[in-house]
């Protein structure tokens, strides 16, 4: 679409207003909200929404509105710093120049590559930020290591959904249809309004996952869409008149999905014509679904059979779109949850139709270049990728190491030692992106050399880093924002530099500048980075983006800036037109060419080819010996407007809305424990403990508590052992290491049992050691009273001792 204004405008008062599309840092997903950034005398003085942006229409969240406070925060780190490795954990940083930084870091990289091989270098990427599209090339091409890692146990964010989609549906990321592809949005004649949008383990208003502008749901509700929430909590969105709630036990999603399918089949509501034409394994699936009648599901998942039937009947209508959330990923049973979610959309004929589930093309727009940098790795090096051989379902779809396997390698030094780590926008310890963070901490402080890129000092950088590379904020660098990281491009926006403080370098600048200095050439002799022309960022950065955009879209970076953002349009029913398969045949890009209700690949990898339900492994049901001690189920990870995971804690305007993390408890249960609103509560299980403030709500099931993730306290002492209080409210310490699904995906971040008790304060907590569920079963039995016979021990053969 063509916007009417210049992207950079000088105002009468001497200020300059720059139009941009928001990504990061600080964190957010690639939603690309329209920004107008006004700068005067080197200061960002105002941020407003851009009314010409056809998705956000001038609307902004409080994190974007607070950008002036973030950009000019006194806590920002604006210059590169180094610290002697013997001073790790101490606030003993020295500012250095970029020349010294390049010499120091490149020297280390070359040393480790020569002495130990490039595989001894490990790159971590965090979640959501634009680093998600740069940490792969940073590893594969700039540093030339095969080991890039998303550290979250079981890759429990987005990756499982993408992988399951690859295998079952053979397409890019499935997203609800909110008409984002079209300039005229909901008025587009091709578009049809969904009758229902099912938010399954997802609350998009606050999370805006992956490129879905969450409040589009409100826009669609105004037009008539109803929302079905499948969630352990009643949310405000579900409570709106006319919307429907399926309040379920944490982690029971697969049982719920199979129960919904059972009702649809029993009542003959399926789209048989579509199933016969496009689905593989219908008869086998019908047999499986028969095992989950609503009355059984009521026992397993706590939602009433009556309500399950009501939801199933709604979901069998057309068009219906499922917004699948993080709860699919954060569950050892999650591969089955993802599978049944896709099946429900398939058997009701809701895939790739207007108002149904939209599919990205098999080849990701722009996003693919990051994977293609793999060409810079020789095959023997690529084969050293950690955990790739052990977990083919993960390594075939994701280009990373296996995260749990990676921690085992760091801890044991086998099959080879990791000498250097590079954290590209990951505050792994705080954490959002790890289970058993104390174990990651103990392993990471032992490596020889660590680099961190971030905006602010974090517990991770304070504990581990030897070099800190400062990042510019979203207002301070050029780039592109591409929804769903290119796997289902609703739109592509230009991110424009409005000002630049200090001596920061963006992710792509770091990739290119280190890449040029390390002078890497791949096995074919060509260098990925030397082709981008110029010596300064205003030359090589636009050249980089032009060289990505032009071959696919036919326009350059300057044109993208001029038009503001690009909406590619959308073709529905691509499976009929041969647009989902590389061979151009109708159907889906799977082994059978159909949507696989029965998965041929799961079967080949030793997993049940059909979805099934597995009770959460650490629940009062699975461990009756501990049911009295840990009677409650804990769920975590819901999102708030005022922060992005572990970020924004040091921004006063945002911290105002949540000073301390809260644990949601039902008032009846709180009364049993003598807990009142605002009391400090310690939540504990065999693996860890954390303290959060009680918030009593009737919207949570009495058998469940909800805890906040990603909490640390920038106002507290940053040095070891306190590390900004990162072990005080750290709910991920309650999640065990390597307790994941058979295919290698999914950890129980949202479904572990726990106890609660009232405590006096935050600070007197004694952190708890996290025992390994395989290697330390004797200690778990002795100290924690766990009956080893009740431990689901399916990964023993892939563990390193």
């Amino acid at each position: 679409m063509a916007m009417s204004r210049e992207w950079r405008r000088e105002n009468p008062d001497g200020s300059v207003t720059v139009r941009s599309c928001c990504w990061s840092p600080p964190g957010d997903h690639p939603v690309g909200c329209g920004l107008l950034l006004t700068v005067k005398d080197g200061k960002l003085i105002n941020v407003e929404g851009d009314e010409e942006h056809s998705i956000t229409n001038g609307r902004l969240c409080i994190r974007a509105l607070s950008l002036p406070e973030i950009v000019h925060s006194p806590e920002r780190i604006l210059y590169p710093m180094k610290r002697d490795p013997k001073d790790r954990g101490k606030d003993a940083w020295t500012r250095i120049s970029w020349d010294e930084t390049f010499d120091l870091v490149c020297g280390k990289v070359n040393y480790f590559k020569d002495e130990y091989g490039a595989q001894s270098i490990l790159v971590f990427g965090g979640t959501g930020r634009e680093a998600c599209i740069y940490y792969y090339p940073l590893g594969f091409s700039t540093l030339q290591t095969p080991n890039v890692c998303y550290g979250q146990s079981g890759w429990s964010c987005y990756g499982p959904r993408c992988s399951i989609t690859d295998y079952i549906l053979g397409a890019g990321y499935p997203e609800i249809d909110f008409a984002g592809y079209f300039e005229d949005r909901y008025n587009n004649p091709e578009f049809e309004l969904p009758k229902y949008v099912v938010c399954w383990g997802k609350m998009p208003l606050a999370s805006n996952g992956d490129g879905l502008f969450g409040h589009a749901l409100i826009d669609m509700m105004r037009l008539g869409t109803k929302i079905i929430m499948i969630d352990p909590r009643i949310t405000w969105l579900g409570a709106i008149e006319g919307n429907i709630n399926l309040q379920i036990k944490p982690g029971s999603d697969a049982a719920v999905g199979l129960g919904l399918a059972n009702v649809i089949i029993e009542e003959g509501l399926q789209d048989q014509e579509w199933i016969d034409a496009w689905c593989y394994g219908w008869d086998e699936f019908v047999e499986r679904a028969k095992e989950y009648p609503p009355e059984r599901v009521e026992e397993l998942a706590w939602c009433s059979a009556e309500q399950l039937r009501k939801v199933a009947r709604c979901m069998a209508e057309k068009p219906v779109s499922i917004a699948w959330g993080l709860a699919v990923d954060q569950n050892p049973n999650g591969s089955q949850v993802g599978h049944i979610t896709i099946i429900l959309q398939a058997i009701t004929g809701n895939i790739d139709i207007p108002g149904g589930l939209t599919l990205g093309p098999p080849s990701a727009l722009l996003g693919k270049w990051r994977m293609e940098t793999r060409k810079d790795l020789a095959p023997d090096l690529w084969d050293m990728r950690l955990g790739a051989a052990e977990y083919p379902a993960l390594s075939n779809a994701m280009a990373t190491t296996h995260p749990d396997f990676t921690l085992d390698v760091l801890e044991t030094g086998k099959p080879y030692e990791i000498k250097m780590c590079w954290f590209n926008s990951s505050n792994l310890l705080a954490p959002t992106c790890s289970a058993a963070p104390t174990r990651w901490h103990d392993a990471l402080i032992k490596t020889e050399f660590n680099v961190v890129q971030d905006l602010f000092m974090t517990p991770t950088a304070m504990a581990c880093a030897d070099v800190f590379l400062p990042l510019p904020t979203v207002a301070e660098h050029d780039g592109v924002v591409i929804t769903h990281y290119g796997r289902n491009t609703v739109f592509l926006g230009a991110m424009n530099e409005a000002l630049r403080l200090g001596e920061t370098k963006s992710d792509i600048e770091v990739c290119i500048e280190f890449g040029k200095r390390l002078n890497n050439a791949g096995p074919d002799g060509s260098s990925t980075w030397n082709v981008f022309e110029g010596d300064t960022r205003d030359q090589f950065v636009p050249d980089f983006f032009t060289k990505q955009l032009e071959p696919e879209l036919g326009f350059d970076f300057d044109e993208l800036r001029r038009i503001g953002f690009y909406q590619p349009g959308y073709t529905y029913r691509k499976y009929e037109k041969g647009m989902l398969r590389f061979d151009g045949e109708p159907g889906f890009n799977t082994v059978t060419g159909m949507v696989e209700l029965y998965s041929t690949l799961f079967d080949a990898w030793g997993e049940d080819p059909l979805p099934y339900y597995e009770e959460p492994r650490w629940s009062p049901v699975s461990h009756p010996e501990l049911a009295e001690r840990y009677p409650l189920m804990m769920t975590t990870g819901s999102r708030e407007y005022s922060s992005f995971h572990s970020e924004h804690r040091q921004i006063p305007t945002l911290r105002h809305f949540r000073t301390y993390p809260d644990i949601e408890i039902h008032p009846d249960v709180a009364a049993q424990y003598g807990i009142e609103e605002g009391d400090w509560v310690e939540v504990e299980n065999p693996f860890g403990r954390a303290r959060q403030k009680a918030h009593l709500v009737i919207t949570i099931d009495p058998r469940v508590v909800h805890c906040r993730h990603g909490w640390w306290y920038p106002e507290q002492d940053g040095e070891e052992p306190n590390l900004f209080g990162t072990w005080k409210s750290n709910v991920n310490t309650l999640v065990p290491h390597f307790d994941i699904g058979r295919l290698g995906f999914g950890a129980p971040f949202k479904s572990v049992f726990c106890s609660i008790k009232k405590v006096d304060d935050l600070d007197s907590i004694v952190p708890k050691r996290s025992y390994d569920i395989v290697k330390e079963q004797d200690r778990l039995a002795e100290v924690e009273g766990v009956d080893p016979a009740n431990i689901v021990d399916i990964h023993r053969e892939h563990r390193i001792y």
Partner: protein
């Protein structure tokens, strides 16, 4: 032009408690008043909460739970912005687009169009 008879209309069925009005207003007031605005002490607008009330036991869909943006004494309706032909900062940026500004009689007409769960506020 006088904005004496202007007010805010809140379509509070859809207020999602995103806090955008509060933060947008804070930055607006800081610019117009030339001083720091403390959201704890001197906000220009606050979001109030009604409920959640569970209206019918056993019915998971029967709830009354609303958020309601309410301007404070500091609200100036963003007259400077109105004069420039712009919407008030809260109205423009509200994620749920649940606020409107205008003459009271026009807002009353809009309220009848929108239906239930509306509120007209004259700060």
């Amino acid at each position: 032009m006088s904005y004496e008879n202007y007010g805010l209309l809140v379509d509070y069925r859809y207020c999602s408690n995103c806090h955008t009005c509060e933060v947008a207003c804070k930055y607006h007031l800081q610019q117009t008043l030339g001083r720091e605005i403390d959201l704890d002490k001197t906000p220009g607008i606050v979001v109030l909460e009604k409920g959640p009330f569970h209206l019918e036991e056993g019915n998971p869909d029967a709830w009354d739970w609303s958020y309601i943006p309410m301007p404070t004494a500091l609200c100036d309706l963003c007259v400077d912005r109105l004069e420039r032909g712009e919407k008030p900062s809260c109205v423009k940026q509200c994620l749920a687009a649940c606020m409107e500004v205008g003459p009271l009689d026009e807002l009353a007409r809009r309220a009848t169009e929108i239906g239930h769960r509306t509120l007209i506020v004259r700060p």
